[in-house]
Amino acid sequence: MSGTMSDPGVTRAESCVIACADVWREAGEVMVSPFGTIPALGARLAKRTFSPDIVLTDGEAALMVGAPPIAARPAELVREAAMPYRTVFDVVWSGRRNMMMMASQIDRTGNQNISAIGPHAKPKVQLVGVRGAPGNSVNHPTSYWVPDHTVRTFVEQVDVVSGVGYARAAAAGAGATRFHQIPRVVSNLGVFDFETPERTMRLRSHHPGVTVDEIVAATGFALSIPDDVGETRLPTPEELELIRVVLDPGSLRDREVRS
């Protein structure tokens, strides 16, 4: 296996895994609840390398020991504590969580939509529902993962605000802003944050092989783009081996994001 820093064989999906893993750098002892294959791989990679204290769930009702392969069967998992949904809310509302949700739409100020496309009273497309997004977004750091970055997913204004963005949190007052934070948005094209004076979305890095122009063309609003914006970092040889050999030998990551 080739695994040098300039490895031309690093896939887009692997860049996305690295971008997700970096979200949890120095996250501490918090519950990471990744939605999607690539965020789940990122969380496991982070736990095995630079963030060993993060807490992973088994996808059911327990916390699991270690960071097993993504395709591990439930019977293969070792569990360390119970985490039924009733307890999940204790974790969410105490802030001991740093999660990544998916977004069917996300907008310039970080509002996320997983509820419905079109008018909520009679949607054009019914989605899963707001789920825990309203509460998550105002109680603990909540990042988002969008595996299909287009003008239909990165929109000027989402149809139903599920996860709360910066402007909406500010308008709602101190109850909403106190613990509100969107550390990152990761898409199949790049990494984004809200580190601008107006708290609007900024391009943080573009994945290797993606141009800034491609990202601008796929985004339905004006992104903030720093002059010195660079590429998403490449995996280290150790990280690449963990992804390819240990965590995801079946390449499930390529089903979520193609190169």
């Binding site: 119970a82 009733r86 969410v92 509302w93 419905a116 019914q126 509460g135 109680n139 949190a169």
Partner: protein, 296 residues
């Protein structure tokens, strides 16, 4: 001690059109599907269904039983979206009170504790407050300098006042129970079943098997596996397989193949009619026979 054993038909016989009914479980997990099917073939109508939604919501919508749904989501877990729910919403056939899933929990908790609301940050800034314009905020009475103000950042803070979700009836399904109404959950999560029961006027449980009072706990299953006590239950009906096709481990997992058929039946009216004739508008024995004789 009262013997609370009853039947699925008698449970449904206690329900009335227009009632608000809570259904336990979560998504496509441990749903009281035998009762849900019995409601589907009853003449009940105009129901408000309160649930962590799964195929219970989809099936009740598809059979026209529902006026309104109170939920944070509807999902089949292994299939992200329930197409029957999707169709009902996209055709505007049902009203919805969509709230954050934690707000939902607090609504049940408030009803169970007999307080009118519970405060939370969840919902602030989101469209949960605009799509449900009757939801109100509450201001903390602990202002600057108040001796009970723990953190100055919370002085006078405004929070969502999640109203109590009062239920006319609640139905849950468990792995084991006794005739007195104690209920055991052998899978890893009791979800919010005790709160659904606590929030309701009339409380019903179906179960895989009824055992002797005092026999639920043993060496393999400590008392912590019995989260439902008999003060929360008016009637208990033995219903082996009563959660099919949702997941009810360790008795059985989700019937993924059947769930796919259920989802596919939403694609056109003829498909749905065939599915409903075979699996909905039949009694429990015929349902089981029809499920069993499908090609495997």
């Amino acid at each position: 001690m009262a013997d609370k054993r009853t039947s699925i038909d008698d449970i449904v016989g206690e329900l009335r059109s227009g009632m608000t009914i809570g259904i336990g479980g979560w998504g496509s997990r441990r749903k009281p599907m035998a009762v849900v099917r019995a409601i589907c073939r009853s003449d009940l109508t105009d129901l408000t269904v309160v649930a962590y939604g799964g195929p219970d919501v989809g099936l009740l919508c598809a059979t026209g039983k529902v006026r309104k749904v109170v939920c944070g989501f509807v999902t089949l877990d292994s299939i992200a979206l329930d197409p029957h729910w999707r169709a009902a919403r996209q055709h505007g056939r049902v009203e919805v009170m969509e709230v954050d899933e934690g707000m939902f929990f607090l609504g049940l908790q408030a009803a169970s504790w007999r307080v009118p609301f519970l405060p939370t940050r969840a919902g602030l800034g989101s469209d949960v407050l605009t799509i449900n314009p009757d939801l109100a905020l509450v201001r903390s009475p602990y202002g600057p300098g108040h001796p009970y103000l723990a953190d100055p950042a919370d002085a006078d803070v405004e929070l969502v006042a999640m109203p109590a979700l009062h239920l006319d009836a609640a139905i849950v399904h468990t792995n084991r129970a006794d005739a007195a109404g104690n209920g055991q959950v052998l899978s890893p999560d009791a979800f919010f079943d005790p709160l659904f029961l606590g929030a309701a006027e009339r409380r019903f449980m179906t179960t895989e098997a009824i055992v002797d009072n005092g026999a639920l706990a043993d060496e393999a299953h400590p008392l912590s596996s019995v989260p439902i006590h008999r003060m929360l239950v008016d009637g208990v009906a033995e219903a082996p397989g009563g959660a099919h096709f949702t997941a009810n481990p360790p008795d059985y997992g989700r019937d993924e193949k059947f769930q796919k058929e259920y989802a596919a039946s939403a694609t056109d009216p003829a498909e749905w009619e065939a599915f409903a004739k075979r699996y909905v508008f039949v009694d429990d024995a015929e349902y089981k026979a029809n499920v069993a004789e499908r090609p495997q």
